[in-house]
Symmetry: C2
Subunit: 152 residues, 2 copies
């Protein structure tokens, strides 16, 4: 297993925690110099907050912990391609590298519907790699929505 | 003064509070059925949080207060055109109407650099009007940055 798959497995662990709590299973970890410095999962339902996506919570946690508003030298791993809000937050936090799992045809903003992370007009760009352990992320999401429909 | 200018004046009051606290002067208010239900200003420096923009704080405050993750029937007034993160958060919160002051050539995502608020591929669109009391917003921002340069 290469390091990127290793960190994506940790993000997938967070996604599974979300699923167990009735949240859409999306998880994320933040890595600096090979060390995980923050972990988070989607908590939209629990917090009744539409902005409580894994990536945004991760950025808020990491900047609060380090008292640094910019997360230079960090790589963000997330199981699903970020939405516009989360891609925008990564730009504001000056995160240099993004690794994501499944591509998101409905709202992906790191290459699929929008390419906010690599727009040369903005004052920061995020180097981005997609599709890491994507099948596992897709399987988790499909299982979650299948179960939701079953209990609805 | 029409109602939109009235609410934008309240958002400008929030922007002035931000300025007094050493923050880039941007303010916002959320209005439901003609009543202001939340007010916020930029707090990036104070909270050391790059995501602590006025609009995002406003959405988090309003959803926490109402325990509703969607802000149907609300209009958001903000003194500067939203960035991608904030425009994305408005989509997630299903806010139907946005009124903003100055256009933002550097990061505006409600028509200038991106048009996230009116993209037909997404599952929500925000009706948007820009340029309301724009000169007052621009004057506040220019004064702030002039003073910052003076004390740097």
């Amino acid at each position: 297993m290469n390091p990127h798959e290793h960190f994506m497995q940790l993000a997938l662990e967070e996604a599974r925690i979300a699923s167990q709590q009735g949240e859409v299973p999306i998880g994320a970890v933040l890595v600096r110099e090979g060390v995980v410095i923050a972990r988070a999962h989607n908590r939209v339902e629990q917090l009744r907050n539409p902005a409580a996506h894994a990536e945004l919570l991760l950025i808020q946690e990491a900047t609060a912990a380090t008292q640094q508003k910019w997360l230079h030298e960090c790589a963000l791993y997330v199981t699903l391609e970020p939405c516009p809000m989360c891609a925008g937050a990564m730009l504001l936090a000056r995160i240099p590298q993004l690794y994501f799992g499944a591509f998101d045809a409905k709202a992906g903003a790191a290459g699929t519907l929008f390419c906010l992370t690599a727009d040369p007009r903005l004052n920061h760009q995020v180097e981005t790699w997609g599709g890491i352990c994507a099948n596992q992320s897709i399987a988790l999401l499909q299982q979650f929505f299948r179960e939701q429909r079953g209990t609805a």
